[in-house]
Symmetry: C2
Subunit: 524 residues, 2 copies
């Protein structure tokens, strides 16, 4: 709803918790709330850019432009800055993945130590969704506070905006002009076009958080086999529900290292996930009252029918490009992604696009950096942005991090590679008590095969690290920095002489040191 | 007990789990077990070095020497390689710290979600110690397998050894000669010389694991305020026991950043730790049957008497230098640490010393690297080893990581510093819902002040990162790599352009990016 009534917040000061409460009110009573306007009337400079969308890309691009001395304006439909990540996308899934990890621990040690008896216990999904829903306005409050008081951004929030032309945006009944438009409205969940997809009981990552209004029954159908499907599906499974992943081709194709992939899929199966590959949901049937009643699934062995009241669609995202295509005529690919060059410029002069709307990788670092790079270009810097060779991560019940090549890719490219891994290659396989580290210690001492898997891949000739894979916990942050070093040509010899903080979740430093003395590298 | 009966394992092959079982038998029946001898009779080269002690330093030094083409021999009293770390020092404490973190979570969410009602519940200490004791031979098995089959080390285990002169060691009734001796027998827990310190019920990190034979009552006295005291003490506290830290001066002095120190101590108090600073245990009284009955404590307010059956001594370690001082006459400092130069050479020709026996930092990286550097020197490399500017970590109920300077030290040195922290400086203090990340997500959404604290310190003029402090989980591994970059002069501008894996436990990349555009840096 377009809001013509403005609350001019420019001369006001709100604490983080005041913002928190105000945002909560806006979201609970959207009809009654006003557009939030933070425009500095004393600044008569033209805007260098209007950011259409105040998510990760818009907010970081704005901060950088402002820091460089430029003037920007963000327009966003939500009453907060930060976009979908903290509202219904990456942050909630982290909470759900945390719960999955805790529940796997509680089930593994059921009725031992202080853990309750989890036998046959199905825990609440809605309660955890509600925990998130109640708490999410806290981070929103921080970002509004930070954006206004610390970063001094100008913005109009809590009202839809409309593109008018390549210099003009309309919001809250006013038109705003700028030298440039930076378009970054994000992406929305992809939905399957099959009968019954609109029934009550079919959710995606967005509607799960926004609309879940009942406690699902004991069977869950998850459609998809990539990040979103597995992250949410493992949470559902951990609550004690029968969880079937219906995957068109193969689950977790993004885990390109075969051994790491095998470890992950085996553990998913071990805790009870059902993985139906080469399969498709063809229809979702009504229970007679508008709710999901059962699901028809085409499998390689024929059609299966599963009774359930809960289907989760986890199949990726569509860029929200249509508005810019319609109004400005920016060019987009068939998948909806707006086409940009390495300056983030679209096909229309003075119109940039950033974040998920320009397609994959739909990752936080890309949203943020693309916003910053667009700003730098507008402010006169000579930049070239092409996100490549980045590290990545996801959750099953575990945290999984990776960078660079898989073992298979490295063998293909380099011929001779050296593998350093934990557990080591040995006749007892995974049934040995390492790796051990953060959050994996109880497994290491009681159910060793559950304590994780990790692998470092070295091109033997050059002695350079070319890939790293980690299943466990506590390695994700390290992979950010390790990746920078790997891109600069880090060798096993250099790595082996860093100072480890032992027990370190990766074990890479000390394992490298055990081999670094060798002229002809050997596996470990 | 000196073992004259040898089991020659050189031509045998044992799997990891066969080693595991064999080690278990040796430890359970020390009288019946044989010395384990892995010497290659076909190799007629003289040993380049005998490592007296096969702990972290001896094993890593041996591996490096062997990799460089040298011949080494390890002698160790235990039936496994790897030393005290996996047996009764750093690994058990990681398990206990893990349990502390899980129990803090369970108590915070007592009777909510799937957590049991923890009100007044005291959980078992001995059960967790036993979990460790049962499981520890698994990692031992891996290290014996790795050392023999993968690293091809020669060793004599499971029998005490004796120095004879600076080329000779006696073990299992035989004398072995080498060009050099590398002395690395480690350190042992420091014990307080007060009446009652030898009563049943007084433990240190070593005896806790080796000897605990009853379930302690509901009050624990922890003597000390450094790493060991706090790590074990927080575990005891988390089990639900009244836990009093008796600290001669101030608790956690090693946390040099004031704000980080404050966060940690406040949280310890919040969950119920009692911290008695400026205090000393003066006597431990007998209960009449040889057990601890009560403890007399001198406090600034006068003497206190506390009834308890359990005292934990957590006051650091003494280098085990005496044997080398007595036999070889190596020079040692007053605190017992053997004096070495930057080649790890002692005052006696051809005698090197490595690891904890040369004093602080008594950290894993130093033990391992000093062993490797001694080997490199012996093998003819020109080296200089001085452990400095290393990152560090410890646990309370939280994981705490740090590198470089505190804010106070940086202000002293640079005058102008820029602080980037989370939660940000704001009127609501810690009562705001960030940071959020690994293992802290449930707190972030329900009890924000418990979700951690982090801080990056930048010298404003040079824009270089000069310190980093993190309380939470999942940052330790990253600090290893970040520290290398900081030592090379990493700036906020470079850091801000790395690719973050969001939600990243440190938040440092994206927070830096929010400020990196500014010519004159500002806090965040």
């Amino acid at each position: 709803m377009d809001k013509q009534v403005l609350w001019d917040v420019n001369k006001e000061f709100l604490t983080i918790n005041e913002w928190h409460e105000y945002i909560e009110n806006c979201l609970e009573n959207p009809e009654d709330s006003k557009a939030i306007c933070n425009i500095n009337a004393d600044d008569d400079r033209e805007f260098d850019a209007i950011f259409f969308g105040g998510g990760a890309g818009g907010r970081f691009g704005s901060a950088y432009m402002r820091a460089m001395g430029g003037r920007q304006l963000i327009v966003d439909r939500w009453p907060f800055l930060g976009g979908s990540c903290p509202h219904n996308a990456c942050v909630p899934h982290h909470l759900f993945s945390e719960v999955a990890a805790e529940l796997m621990l509680a089930r593994t040690f059921s009725d031992q130590y202080w853990f309750p008896n989890m036998d046959g216990v199905v825990t609440n999904i809605k309660e955890i969704v509600d925990l998130f829903r109640r708490g999410r306005n806290g981070p929103h409050g921080i970002m509004n506070f930070q954006s206004k008081e610390q970063l001094r951004l100008e913005f109009i929030l809590n009202t839809p905006a409309r593109l008018i032309d390549n210099h003009t945006v309309e919001a809250a009944g006013q038109r705003f002009k700028a030298k440039n438009i930076i378009y970054g409205p994000g992406a929305s969940p992809y939905s399957l076009n099959i009968p019954g997809a609109d029934l009550h009981g079919v959710y995606d990552y967005e509607t799960l958080v926004e609309e879940l209004d009942y406690e699902p029954g004991n069977t869950v159908i998850v459609v998809g086999g990539g990040k979103t499907a597995v992250e949410y599906g493992c949470f559902f499974q951990a609550t004690g529900r029968r969880t079937i992943f219906v995957v068109r081709s193969k689950i977790l194709k993004l885990i390109r290292d075969g051994e790491t992939h095998g470890y992950l899929v085996d553990r998913m199966k071990e805790v009870g996930c059902e993985i139906w590959e080469g399969s498709e949901v063809t229809e979702i049937e009504d229970d007679g009252e508008g709710n999901v009643g059962r699901v028809l699934i085409k499998t390689p062995e024929g059609e299966e029918i599963v009774d359930t009241d809960f289907v989760f669609m986890g199949m990726g995202e569509n860029p929200r490009s249509q508005h810019a295509v319609d109004v400005l005529g920016v060019k987009a690919r068939n998948d909806g992604a707006i086409i940009v060059n390495d300056k983030l410029q679209t096909s229309v002069p003075n119109v940039y696009a950033i974040g998920d709307v320009i397609g994959g990788p739909m990752e936080m670092f890309k949203a943020r950096k693309s916003g910053v790079y667009a700003s730098r270009h507008i402010m006169g810097e000579d930049i070239s942005y092409t996100p490549k060779d980045f590290p990545d991560f996801m959750h099953t019940h575990y945290e999984v991090s990776w960078l660079g090549m898989s073992e298979e890719e490295a063998r293909e490219k380099y011929g001779k590679v050296t593998i350093i891994k934990m557990p080591p290659e040995n006749d007892d396989g995974l049934d040995v008590a390492l790796p051990a580290s953060d959050r994996m210690m109880m497994y290491a001492f009681a159910v060793p095969r559950m304590s994780g898997f990790q692998k470092l891949i070295i091109a033997s000739e050059s002695r350079k690290v070319v890939g790293a894979w980690h299943v466990g916990c506590g390695a994700k942050d390290a992979f950010q920095f390790l990746n920078v070093m790997v891109k600069k040509g880090l060798t096993i010899d250099e790595l082996g002489f860093f100072d480890e903080l032992f027990l370190n979740p990766t074990h890479f430093i000390q394992l490298s040191r055990l081999r670094a003395g060798l002229k002809q590298l050997e596996d470990l």
